[in-house]
Amino acid sequence: MNNILNQIGIENYIFLCVILFCIGVFGVLYRRNAIIVFMSIEIMLNAVNLLFVAFSTYHQDAQGQIFVFFSMAVAAAEVAVGLAILVSIFKNMNTIDVGKLKNLKG
């Protein structure tokens, strides 16, 4: 079986993932809606996952994919807890604008 990367090239995946990751970072910085921030985080996670899979193919080794499984598990847990926190914040403060969550102020 031919390696698919022969035709695409690992560099392209790297560029794609970097840009995807940066978009995620941009989203976190740009938006103040906590849910969108969450989505941006998911984007970043996915960028990394994609890179894992790409390298897994590159090395012809399944370990990278295993890692992605775990990453997904963690992401799922994180979203569940994170959204629960968001809901309770919303219930308490009636907003999910991160700009208004200033209780950390020292």
Partner: protein
Amino acid sequence: MDTSLILVLLLSPFIGFLFNVFLGKKAGKTIVGIVGTLSVFISFAVTLSFFLQITQTKQAITVDLFEWISTQHFKVNFGFLLDQLSILWLLFVTGIGSLIHLYSISYMHDDEKMHSFFAYLNLFIFFMITLVIGSNLLMMFIGWEGVGLCSYLLIGFWYKNQDFNDAAKKAFIMNRIGDLGFLIGIFILGSMFTTIDFTSLKTAISSASDTNDLWMAIAALCLFIGACGKSAQIPLYTWLPDAMAGPTPVSALIHAATMVTAGIFMITRMSFLFDMVPSVQNIIAIIGAVTSLVAATIALTQTDIKKVLAYSTVSQLGLMFLALGFGAYEVAVFHVITHAFFKACLFLGSGSVIHGLHGEQDMRKMGGLKKAMPITFITMLIASLAISGVFPLAGFWSKDEILMTAFHHNIALWVIGSIASIMTAFYMFRLMYLTFFNEFRGTEEQKHHLHESPSLITIPLIVLAILSFIGGIISLPGNSWLNDYLAPLFSKVTQEEHSFGTTEYTLMAIATIGALAGIGLAYKKYLKENTIPSEDENITGLTKVLYNKYYVDEVYDAVFVKPINVLSNFFRDSVETTLSALVFGLGKATFQLASFGRRFHHGSVGFYLSMFTLGICALLTYLYYCNNF
């Protein structure tokens, strides 16, 4: 045998001290007095046996108990040395000590703290014995500081009066200034000769080449400063008059007869050192002469009976130092002994007077006591004659020898010394006339109670008066027992017998005439004209300066005490707070930094994240470029 005898000699007063401290209150006043006196008397008896022994064997006794302190250069043993000098000293310390203890039984009988008084006195005798029989400088130093301590305790015996406490403190601190000099002297000698033992020091110093002359001179000077402190010489003499705050027996024992002569003892002990450094000897002679004159002038105008005697003591000590300065150690020792007799007698006499007047010490309020207190009067008269140097009493011989020595070495100092002794005659008889002659000037009630003191007081007086009378025989010119006795101690052979010629007789004549002139002046002024020293506020002119002791205390206060206190306040209020503020300043700076940093933590998540991203960029860049280049 010797060891145990020495221990008996030493520990007997100490046991007396312990007894009086722990059991004194329960035992009652009589037993306290008996135990206190007896313990000193035992020491005296032991000393007598040693004395008899040494006059026959002429061998010094040394005993080393155990090693005490050791340094790299020398070891100090807990050891004792009994030679002619120390036994002689012991004789009059324990002898006069016993008499004064006896006297105190009656004198202090009304004081509720009699047991502690006797405890302190015993402790004093213990330390004095240690001082005298110590075999090295450091052992001597134990006694040296110990007697200073007892002096402190006894001056401040009536501790409820803070002025007395001040006087006690002053005495202790001034002594300590001298003690520092003493210590430094010990350090220099110890490192130079690797021993501070008297016997080995003597050999080492006598065989030393003159290369270290300067250091030896410094060492000698330092020791002399120590002696100055203890023996109340200029500039450290001001504590002694204040020390009269203590009970009168204390003044007699400590501040006239024994402790204050410790400086003379030390210099005599170290004569081998002082003989090597003539420059220091000159200083000693000059200081001695000046002290004797200054103290005598102050004594002229004092009205407190004990103050007069105190300044007289300072003056006499000055004369002794004058003799020491000329290397005439046995002359100084001779005067120490005679002085101990008549000055103790005078003090005890004044104590008897004060006792009779219920604590009155001002001579302006005395007078006419001759009839009421005949024994006191006669004994004091004898002692006064002795101190004035009237032939043939003890003082005449010793003082004359000092002046003669001075005359042979330095005319100027002889003149000073002679003037001082003429003044002595004057102020002593001023004291006598004011106290015992004319009419009584006190209150009616005092007059009513005037009486002769009990026999426990008068017996010591009589004994001392007799001694003052005949004390001179131990060293008559030309045939001196004392000089022969002490001869083994002094290396110098220069003390050849003065050929007894016309000069000497002339000098004796001059001295006697001088003494009589002083007495005559006093007679004219205080008996014939019946002058009474004016009240404090009426004193003017030179008299005022003298009456106020040349304002030395005030000057010392302004130059030393006040600046130190001001400095202390300054340190406490300014420097301490500044230092503290500096440390707190460091803390505050951290705090400032924190509140500056706090402004970046305003709780904006976006800002945090931006910084976080920026940090990651920076980190990546840094890592990347560091690994590549």
